[in-house]
């Protein structure tokens, strides 16, 4: 027995000790991007090498999409990429975890080149933590031109009226914290962070309750429809759905379905206590960050900056129709001609940065939306919102 046991021990110990530690001459960098971006990232690295012959880099790629970046990073920061793309809502959590390198090289140039909104979305307490990459992670309204007129689409009431007249639906995933926030943020509600980084939320104040009542009226309308927009909109727009709130990632499918009737615009205004209030939204940016644990900060920053420069943001738009955060790139005719990106740009005037939202917000917000959708009025809106805010700000 001893022999076998000791053999096994020897083996496991030997394996434990075999920790690799190398440091070679060229800067070895790992880059994370979505699977769809792998090819384009490779091209960008080639052009980076061509443009910076003095910087020796050896780049390796890993597939982690922007939505998963935070989770994958926190599972093992040491094994995470040196340069990685992530969705803007993860910024606060990443910064709180000490995951990101401050952008200190060429900061002015970067801030000048990208839209103020995108810079704000990457800045916390005056420190720039990431490089704006795209400005396409928000949402707006898709609609069927043959059902809803340009005049009607300006107000939620008009849209519902048109849809009801045509016997069709208006789709919005109200039981989703991301979308339902439009009402509260539009009414002037604030999601913020206190000194310790805990979530604050005032959606249960007077205007918040009025917004809640508006949600109640919206969900009670015959034309209202909820569900997973990603699966349903491309399948049903033009048949049973006249308008729907979603983001650019559905543009291709919806355009194919609607054909000539395809149209998109900013979110409408909604009626709140008698007045018309513009629906706000979360400003969705995708950012690129540098891992605070990187061994080669300068090279990593240079690469991140390259990935997000004007030329490459245009390239992203041209190959994948991703809206640029770079001001020049966004001003180009081609970008302006893109219906979905145009709508998003229109909406961006009413968009609120998502960086002040932490993980605790989503489930309680979904809970409120679910209750409204289920038309469960056993508690009044004020009580529900109080409970929601209590859960959001807990601990």
């Amino acid at each position: 027995m001893k022999k076998l046991l000791s053999l096994a021990l020897v083996l496991s110990l030997a394996l434990t000790m075999a920790l690799p530690a190398f440091a070679a001459a060229p800067a070895k960098l790992k880059v994370w991007g979505a699977q769809d971006d792998q090819a384009i990232l490779q091209e960008m690295v080639e052009s980076f090498k061509a443009a910076h012959p003095d910087v020796a880099v050896e780049v390796e790629f890993g597939v982690v999409g922007e939505p998963d970046a935070k989770t994958k990073y926190l599972e093992d920061p040491a094994a995470a990429a040196d340069v990685f793309a992530f969705a803007g809502d993860q910024l606060m959590d990443l910064v709180a975890a000490g995951a990101l390198y401050e952008v200190t090289l060429n900061r002015e140039a970067i801030e000048a080149a990208n839209s103020p909104g995108s810079i704000e979305a990457a800045t916390i307490n005056g420190t720039l933590y990431a490089y704006p990459m795209t400005a396409d992670n928000g949402y707006f309204l898709y609609y069927d031109k043959s059902v809803i007129s340009e005049e009607q689409v300006k107000t939620l009431d008009g849209i519902l009226e048109a849809a009801n007249a045509a016997g069709q639906k208006v789709m919005m995933d109200v039981s989703n914290g991301w979308y339902i926030a439009s009402f509260f943020l539009g009414a002037g509600g604030k999601l913020g962070l206190d000194a310790e980084g805990n979530q604050t939320c005032d959606f249960n104040n007077e205007r918040g309750v009025a917004a809640g009542e508006a949600i109640k009226a919206f969900t009670a309308n015959d034309a209202f429809m909820t569900g997973d927009v990603n699966t349903m909109l491309p399948g049903s727009m033009g048949d049973t759905i006249a308008a729907g709130v979603a983001g650019t990632w559905l543009a291709e499918g919806i355009q194919a379905k609607l054909g000539d009737n395809y149209a998109a615009t900013k979110l409408p205004t909604f009626t709140m206590a008698g007045e018309q209030v513009q629906m706000a939204s979360f400003a969705g940016y995708k950012l690129m960050g540098v891992n605070s644990l990187t061994e080669y900060p300068e090279e990593a920053m240079a690469l991140a900056e390259w990935f997000t420069n004007e030329e490459n943001q245009i390239k992203r738009f041209e190959t994948r129709a991703l809206g640029p955060a770079n001001s020049n790139a966004a001003a180009s005719e081609a970008v302006k001609a893109n219906v979905a990106l145009g709508a998003l740009a229109e909406q961006s005037a009413f968009a609120v940065p998502e960086k002040d939202v932490r993980g605790n917000y989503w489930t309680p917000a979904e809970a409120f939306g679910t209750t409204m959708e289920a038309k469960d009025y056993s508690k009044d809106v004020k009580t529900l919102l109080d409970e929601m805010v209590a859960a959001i700000t807990a601990k």
Binding site: L5, S6, L105, A390
Partner: protein
């Protein structure tokens, strides 16, 4: 050990390890005594070279392991890290130069690993002393010492259990036991959103998380109570509906008159073959408010409003129970159909002579027999349902969410709730605390039933 009978071994165990060590040291010769310090010494001086060298090598390895790897973690186990990430502005490079700090997670994990390695080593050390002492005794009695070949041979016979269990045990220790201990320890730390590496460290907080869970934090405590209640209700309902209906299906297929038995079984088995995440994903699509089922029912004119299969509390709970039947009945059917065939036929014959109806026969013969025989399976199924992550997560994701719960919904089980706590909030400490609770309930129940139930006591009966 070859000469030790079971009785003597038991007597020795009763004496206590320290007593035994002391007596061995007292009675040992120089070789045996030196084995306390230098492993394998006793074997080496008595000519058991290979054995001795192996002992020695393991000791050398341990020293190397402790010095080279384990010590850097073990010495920080008390605080779980004291040096945070350093950040210094470099005017020359125009960046903040960083030095990584301690990683509490790795300190905790590798400390647990090292402690287990040391415990394993201590067992080896004790075996080394025993072996030396036995060699000494055998030599004193003038008997032949077992050669290395003899030792190997005994591994295949009287100590066969050790050969058989070593490898599996090591794997279980590495991939189940060690991570479990690690997670249990997390419940006593503050590893949450505000204490994420690499920038932050977490540390021990004693019983704070338990206090929060059991009343200290009203919102969490209240949610915990409700979610726990539903978890238990779900586990009971899901287990018994599956069990009874699965058995009924098995009985129907096993009926003498039924032809094409294999075909009927195969039809049900096909649903096992489709990966659960696929079939449940499909189910959640089919059952969606605007999904095909609702669309069809409307088209047929049966309903006018969509049935909220997955979005209304009561309906959703019923739906997941029914879908769970769809998932589970094939398994139960397979498991019970064999056992059903084993029920003594004469029981039924005498009953049918007495004129008992099929239903009566089921309740007075079949069910009691099956319950008696399949208690272990039932318990496994019950515990499996307490932890039934897939069905809930893929069908409803715990929804419908409600505002009065803390990050939870009406169909959330404790496991899906703690999953959301780790994913949305990185609240590992609270999740671990809930995990411990789930574990205590499942484990306690299983141990109780297995050790009290007939099957454990009847273990020898069949052989």
């Amino acid at each position: 050990m070859t000469g030790l009978t079971a009785a003597r071994r038991k007597a020795k165990a009763r004496k206590g390890i320290f007593r035994e060590l002391y007596e061995t040291f007292r009675d040992g010769d120089a070789g045996t005594r030196l084995s306390f310090l230098v492993m394998g010494f006793g074997s080496l001086v008595k000519g058991q070279v290979i054995k001795g060298l192996l002992y020695l090598a393991s000791q050398a390895l341990l020293v190397w392991y402790l010095a080279g790897f384990a010590w850097q973690y073990l010495r920080k186990l008390g605080t779980l890290g004291d040096v945070g990430m350093q950040r210094v502005w470099s005017e020359e490079r125009q960046i903040f130069v960083r030095t990584p700090g301690d990683n509490s997670l790795l300190i905790l994990l590798f400390s647990v690993l090292s402690i287990m390695v040391v415990l394993g080593f201590l067992a080896l050390w004790r075996a080394n002393i025993r072996s030396a002492y036995r060699a000494q005794r055998l030599k004193q009695q003038g008997k032949r010492l077992p050669t290395f070949a003899d030792d190997i041979k005994s591994m295949l016979d009287e100590r066969f259990h050790l050969s058989m269990l070593t490898m599996p045990s090591l794997m279980v220790v590495a991939f189940t036991l060690l991570p479990t201990i690690f997670m249990i320890l997390l419940a006593f730390t503050n590893f949450d959103q505000a204490h994420q590496p690499p920038g932050n460290m977490f540390t021990w907080v004693g019983l704070d998380n338990f206090r929060n869970l059991f009343g200290g934090h009203p919102l969490i405590a209240n949610t915990f109570g409700k979610v726990f209640g539903w978890t238990m209700a779900w586990a009971v309902l899901a287990t018994f509906t599956n069990y009874l209906l699965g058995m009924v299906v098995a009985i129907m297929i096993n009926n003498k008159g039924i032809k094409l038995k294999a075909m009927w079984r195969t039809i049900f088995v096909v649903t096992i073959a489709v990966p659960q995440f696929v079939s449940l994903m499909l189910m959640s699509q089919i059952l969606h408010d605007q999904g095909p089922l609702n669309a069809l029912l409307k088209q047929f004119g049966f309903i006018e409003q969509s049935i909220p299969f997955l979005t209304d509390t009561a309906t959703a709970r019923l739906t997941i129970l029914v879908v769970n039947l769809w998932v589970g009945i094939p398994y139960t059917m397979l498991i019970t159909s064999g056992i059903l065939m084993n029920i003594p036929k004469d029981l039924y014959e005498s009953a049918s002579i007495d004129g008992a109806s099929p239903a009566r026969m089921f309740f007075s013969i079949t069910l009691p027999y099956m319950l008696f025989v399949t208690t272990p399976y039932l318990i496994t199924a019950f515990v499996g349902n307490i932890n039934n992550f897939n069905v809930i997560f893929l069908l409803t994701r715990g929804g419908p969410m409600v505002t009065e719960y803390y990050q939870a919904g009406k169909t959330d089980l404790l496991v899906t709730w703690l999953y959301r706590l780790t994913v949305d909030r990185q609240d590992y400490s609270l999740a671990s605390t809930i995990g411990i609770f789930v574990f205590v309930i499942s484990a306690g129940l299983s141990l109780l039933v297995f050790n009290l139930s007939g099957s454990s006591r009847r273990e020898e009966e069949f052989q």
